[in-house]
Symmetry: C2
């Protein structure tokens, strides 16, 4: 398992409820892909969302976000953390 | 206080020790700027580092990273989180 930081652009104006709904949609199916989404943070003004997850590989993160209806623009394995 | 996600590019090849040293350099001076750095994650292959902090404003985050010798390329107020 590796930690991943994925990034969504073009999310300007995202609301707290929309972020929660999107996160819940990920949580509802993540087990099928072996992924665990831990946190998501949004900058509604610039339209950027960051999601932190633990997953077997980037493809699994990609599949969960695609199936949930909000594909990620970037998926980075963050192999170092403090 | 607001949470901020800041991003550093061009960090390809960063090591675990370098990430820890950089984080420690932030921690050593952050109180002078009223900032609290919580986590940092690095993708050494693509050279991206993400730092999560809590701070009075983006300028304070900017000052800590600059004074510690590793200016951020992006600083985003992440006003929403799950």
């Amino acid at each position: 398992m590796t930690k991943f930081m994925d990034v969504h652009h073009g999310m300007a104006g995202i609301t707290d409820q929309q972020l929660r709904d999107a996160h819940d949609a990920d949580l509802a199916i993540q087990a099928e892909e072996g992924v665990s989404f831990e946190h998501a943070w949004a900058d509604p003004a610039e339209g950027v969302v960051y999601c932190l997850s633990e997953a077997p590989d980037a493809e699994a993160v990609k599949r969960v976000h695609e199936r949930a209806g909000h594909p990620a623009d970037e998926i980075h394995p963050v192999t170092l953390a403090v």
